[in-house]
Symmetry: C2
Subunit: 308 residues, 2 copies
């Protein structure tokens, strides 16, 4: 009855029948013909923040109907368990620091497969329209006359808060959320003063490398040294780690990443209102298979640290 | 093969076997005993932004395992189709403007049902930790010693952007998202100046009533009169309406709500990068049943307007 807290999708219960190949070397004529009478179609699908079971039901259905799946290289490999048998699955897009030219290839792959009459899913981490270039992909499809839809997903913001255990807004404490990207921080003193004074929750995607700079800059613009800070790494993935500290400690370099994985940094009074979700429950009825990946993850559990 | 764009969950294919009753008059001894050997447990589940098929797979599994479901009164009635047979389903919580005392009743219901050994789902619109008092509910459970977890959900932010067709961030245009609540707007001129100058995307939950004030205040603090504005009402629900305008027109009162339902207001340059998802596709294989609610919705479609 009880299993791993995370990744409750029975990934080890399913064989992986699809073919994973690298884009863009894959030819388009790979025996994945269109269904008769169906026009090609692309769904831009948010995969959610980590585990496959945090995809939406609508997203899962789009995957199940897909003939071609173009998935972010950064997605957890267990997503492969959701791909239908016979679908062509191509890993595309960026790993840290390597984007750029590949984006045009992704557009071309989506368009060519759809023009060949296929049902394509472009599976993207988090939500397609938050820091995911989903807007660009939608516009490329529209310009090419390809029918498409966008299926939203749970973003790292929500996944990290639920996994690490704190609210993003809290009555009479925080009524505002500001979402930034670590390598595009505000440029003006006015913006920093406002963030320091907002009383809201600040969430910085890809915030690991920039956390000390960010904390120092907030302090310099009037934020309280005791403001709580959390670094949540690999949110909702088996290796999720949350490290709690204060702005002063983070500025002093005492808050350090625990993993090599992506991290999201949070700052704000709402983090004072922490709670501790039970980590042992599973919503799956199935028992763990000893020695299986799920069982190994259950043994590993997730980690929580305190820095500074 | 094609059906309604929205609410693709086959709500009309399922009878509604559960009992819906009003809290808190429901006694606890209603024949929904604990499963032997299972401790009571509460899952705070994000239902997503509207349609039942935008719940996560993990959230759906929690619902399927639930003996007691405490659901937000504002949720679409079609969620009832997800409730397992024999579960006790209680409508709780606020309708517009009536919160307050009821929150303590919700805490008490969750705690008492869990203490009776039952598996409880607290089903909340959007994400439980964004403007949903999920933090308070988690803290109440923790204080009472009840094991619980939090299952994140797609928030109205993501649902509205995907449904109405614009990115929340866009490369070289918008790298910041600010989420506010319509009845808790910033109080300082500095905050307004920063929002007006941020170049990011502003999303105002429950933004319908406050939209003219908000637009005027942004203009007064230096925002461009031509900045695009969108009001998305009943996002991802069958009656979704999106109205696009500019800040100047919104400030002049030309942007008016189309419905009585909840609305989320967006402001920012990213809205210039609109796209138009195909509204006729369904990821369900089933054909529409003539005269069914789904078929009626497909005929109704969704509406898009241009104000000012």
């Amino acid at each position: 009855m009880f299993g791993a807290f995370q990744c409750r999708f029975p990934e080890n219960a399913m064989p992986v029948p699809h073919r994973i190949e690298q884009a863009p070397s894959q030819p388009l004529s790979a025996g994945i013909g269109p269904l008769p009478g169906r026009p090609g179609f692309v769904s831009l699908v948010g995969a959610g923040p980590g585990c496959p079971d945090l995809i939406t039901v609508r997203g899962l259905r789009a995957l199940e109907a897909a003939q071609v799946i173009l998935y972010d290289a950064l997605l957890d490999p267990s997503f492969a368990g959701l791909f239908p048998e016979g679908a062509l699955a191509l890993s595309v897009g960026k790993r840290c620091g390597k984007a750029g030219a590949e984006q045009a290839d992704i557009h071309q792959l989506m368009i060519e497969h759809a023009r060949a009459g296929r049902r394509v899913v472009r599976l993207k981490g988090g939500d397609p329209l938050i820091f995911g270039r989903g807007g660009e992909e939608a516009l490329a499809l529209e310009a090419a006359g390809i029918p498409f839809d966008v299926i939203p997903g749970v973003s790292a913001l929500q996944g990290a808060a639920a996994g690490a255990g704190f609210p993003l807004t809290h009555r009479e404490v925080s009524r505002r959320i500001t979402v930034l990207e670590g390598h595009h921080l505000p440029a003006t003193a006015a913006a920093w003063r406002d963030l320091a004074a907002s009383g809201g929750t600040l969430a910085v995607y890809m915030g690991t490398r920039t956390l000390q700079t960010l904390a120092s800059t907030l302090l310099d613009h009037g934020a309280s040294p005791t403001l709580p800070v959390a670094l949540v790494e690999q949110a909702q993935c088996p290796g999720q780690t949350s490290t709690f500290s204060t702005l002063a400690h983070a500025a002093a370099g005492a808050l350090r990443p625990a993993t090599e994985g992506p991290g999201i940094l949070f700052v704000g009074e709402a983090l004072h209102h922490r709670f501790h979700p039970t980590s042992e429950v599973s919503h799956e009825p199935a028992a763990l298979v000893p020695g299986s990946p799920r069982e190994a993850r259950a043994r590993g559990g997730r980690r929580e640290r305190r820095a500074g």
